[in-house]
């Protein structure tokens, strides 16, 4: 089995995580009498995971560079409040209510402010040399306090109609047809990437994996995409909502017409987009290479001419940008912005990243690992909620799982051990 995996050049840690996730899902499904692995629950799970997943992608880079960011939840809070004020108080002075530009300008404002906040913290870490733990612990207090100050604690609602779609409510999905189109694009991309990679390696006469392994890899990836999309499409709108939708469009209501799919929720699309962009950044750009070099040996990076201080600012600024996107997703999901939004998210994010195989010692970590880590965390939480486990016990279990995850990681993998060997 392990020989098989190494032939296929699959990351073993990834396989391990996937197995853990599967066990959790099947376990909860059995325990709940078949209520866990349902299109509806999977859909909800994907929406609930989105906010943490987006931030986890950035936290991977932070932890890979040997830092930590404890302030992400608080930054999310203050950005959600600011974006709430921008779209409900500020922009309506210039634009009509629910103007199509409102959500764009709001998100843009959030992203810029997020980058500035992150950049300031990064500068304190990089240039002033204050440990990230302290800077962001201070940041946690500062930004949480700031979140209250934005409106003196008043919750901002209702939010812009288009903005709310980012949270993936009943209308915040792209429907069956578009979902299949996305699936098609994804599969074409998977096949194209595999072919191009192989060609390139062959052109340099590097060793390549056996053809059967390429096929299996590609088929598994494409299959997962198809299963995911089919599941999301199998979750139909509630009858009431479907009726309303049909009436609005002037289509007669018949039992067949009523079966309208949700399809991919917009927050899940955002997660996919963020993850793809960041994976490309990590694997294919100088920036990503330098992040890992700094994590592996900061001195070597400095000696190789990398501006470590500036990189630190950039990595924290990127984290701030992702906090803005997460803030949009979570406030849109609740259709309001309260100043306690994102409380304890820093712990969920860090846990997701660590469970996903990112080493706290720096230098090692993957974006996809963090995504699965986030899904594992959310699955545990949702599953226990489904079984009626009370919240205090939920936190105990999740805390133990986190420690167990890090322990097993230390136990089974030596540091920097070759993931494909």
């Amino acid at each position: 089995m392990s020989r098989l995996l190494s032939k296929m050049e699959v990351d073993r840690r990834l396989v391990g995580l996937a197995v853990v996730l599967l066990i959790i899902w099947v376990g909860f499904d059995i325990a709940s009498g078949g209520r866990f692995i349902t299109p509806r629950n999977i859909f909800n799970l994907s929406v609930q995971t989105a906010s943490v997943a987006v931030m986890a992608c950035g936290m991977v880079l932070i932890i890979v560079t040997r830092h930590i960011d404890l302030s992400v939840g608080a930054i999310l809070g203050v950005l959600a409040m600011l974006m709430g004020v921008v779209q409900t108080d500020l922009l309506p002075q210039f634009l009509d209510y629910n103007h199509p530009m409102t959500w764009i300008l709001t998100l843009l404002a959030g992203i810029v402010i997020g980058a500035v906040i992150g950049g300031i913290q990064g500068a304190a870490v990089g240039y002033l040399g204050v440990p990230a733990f302290i800077v962001t612990l201070g940041g946690l207090l500062v930004w949480r306090g700031a979140a209250w100050w934005v409106t003196q604690g008043r919750t901002v609602a209702p939010l812009d109609h288009n903005f709310i779609l980012l949270g993936g409510g009943i209308e915040g999905t792209i429907g069956a047809t578009w979902s299949w189109i996305v699936a098609l694009i994804a599969i074409v991309a998977i096949i194209y990437a595999a072919i191009m990679d192989r060609r390139r390696r062959l052109s340099f006469e590097f060793p390549v994996k056996p053809v059967w392994a390429e096929y299996t890899n590609t088929i598994i990836k494409a299959g997962l995409v198809l299963i995911a999309i089919a599941t999301l499409n199998a979750y139909h709108l509630p009858t009431r909502a479907a009726e309303r939708l049909l009436e609005n469009k002037g289509i007669p209501v018949t039992p067949e017409n009523l079966e309208i799919s949700h399809g991919i929720p917009i927050p899940l699309l955002i997660v996919a987009l963020v993850a793809i962009v960041l994976t490309i950044v990590v694997k294919r750009t100088r920036f990503g290479r330098y992040v890992f070099a700094i994590g592996g040996n900061p001195q070597a990076a400095e000696l190789a001419g990398i501006n470590v201080k500036r990189m630190t600012v950039a990595v924290f600024a990127l984290m701030g940008v992702l906090c803005a996107i997460s803030a949009a997703i979570s406030s849109a999901r609740l259709q309001s912005a309260g100043n306690d939004l994102g409380t304890l998210d820093e712990l969920r994010v860090i846990a997701a990243v660590v469970i996903g195989g990112t080493s706290l010692a720096g230098g090692v970590g993957t974006i996809y690992g963090a995504l699965i880590g986030a899904l594992v965390m959310q699955s545990l939480q949702s599953g226990m909620a489904l079984l009626g486990v009370d919240t205090s016990l939920q936190s105990i279990v999740i805390g133990l799982v986190l420690v167990l995850a890090v322990f097993s990681d230390k136990y089974f993998h030596r540091r920097y051990s070759d993931p494909t060997a």
């Binding site: 340099f204 694997k283 994590g295 990076a301 190789a304 051990s417 070759d418």
Partner: protein, 282 residues
């Protein structure tokens, strides 16, 4: 016998270099030089200031005062990049490799090859890495593993390949054989000989007198941040050099050879006269 090196101009000269950390005068008025196709050993006790001296040349530290001359021209070396621009490459005592990156990624760190869209071209880098490493070490196979999975000798190959790849003319090696096995030390020795034939100038720091004697053409000996003296390897015995390292004194019979900046040779002659005297062995 005439030494062909001495007819050329020095590749690098460091003149009257001073640097201190707090109260510690780590390097105190040291001058050294290096010619093409020459291996020069820098010797001294722990804390003598060897690493500090060469870190100034490689841009890791900046001298408080003093002058660095490359190819007869004043060079202003403020960071690693400046050193590289002067074709000075350093292989550090603690091996400046990022453990989590593979050989090719380390080789090109800071100078990656990118495609027309600005994305990293890993295949092209791996290709070039295989070429260079194969030339140095035909047994090198682990191209896609993190360098932490390599042996000391293999890591040293990567570090040296890194310097070669960027057309170094001056190679600084701080303890290249520390923590290496017998076989690997021999390999590094062969590498150094090969680089020397290619006309590189090599500054070699080592505690192992045998290594240094085998490999070096000249020796600079330091003690407590000062230069004790510079001698040609063929003029001295191990005991002479040990005396220089431990006592900080030039051997009696070589006092007239004391190099520039030598502290215990008050009437040390200037560069030119010095190299002339050294052409007539005593």
């Amino acid at each position: 016998m005439t030494d062909p090196n001495m007819t050329k101009n020095p590749l690098v000269e460091m003149r009257d270099i001073h640097i201190s950390f707090g109260g510690v005068k780590a390097v105190d008025g040291v001058s050294i030089d290096l010619y093409p196709g020459e291996v020069v050993g820098v010797l001294g006790h722990n804390g003598a200031g060897k690493s500090t001296l060469i870190k100034i040349l490689s841009g890791a530290y900046q001298a408080d005062s003093g002058q660095i001359v490359v190819d007869g021209k004043d060079a202003n070396i403020e960071n690693a990049r400046d050193a590289r621009d002067n074709n000075i490459e350093t292989i550090y005592q603690n091996l400046a490799l990022a453990d989590n990156l593979d050989a090719a990624q380390n080789l090109f760190l800071g100078r990656e090859v990118t495609d027309k869209f600005g994305f990293l071209d890993d295949a092209a880098m791996e290709h070039k890495a295989r070429e260079v490493l194969h030339r140095l070490n035909p047994n090198f196979k682990k191209f896609t593993s993190p360098v932490s999975a390599l042996s000391g000798g293999q890591r040293q190959s990567v570090a040296i390949a890194r310097a070669l790849l960027f057309e170094a003319r001056v190679l600084i090696m701080d303890e290249p054989c520390a923590a290496l096995g017998v076989h690997e030390t021999k390999m590094v020795g062969e590498l150094i000989d090969q680089l020397k034939r290619d006309g590189l100038g090599i500054l070699l720091i080592s505690h192992d007198l045998h290594d240094v004697f085998d490999l070096s053409d000249r020796l600079h000996v330091m003690k407590n941040g000062k230069l004790v003296g510079s001698v040609r390897t063929e003029d001295v015995t191990h005991d002479d050099v040990l005396g220089m390292i431990i006592l900080g004194k030039m051997p009696e019979h070589l006092l007239h050879l004391a190099g520039p900046g030598a502290t215990n040779a008050p009437t040390a002659p200037e560069d030119a006269t010095n190299s002339e005297t050294s052409e007539t062995p005593s």
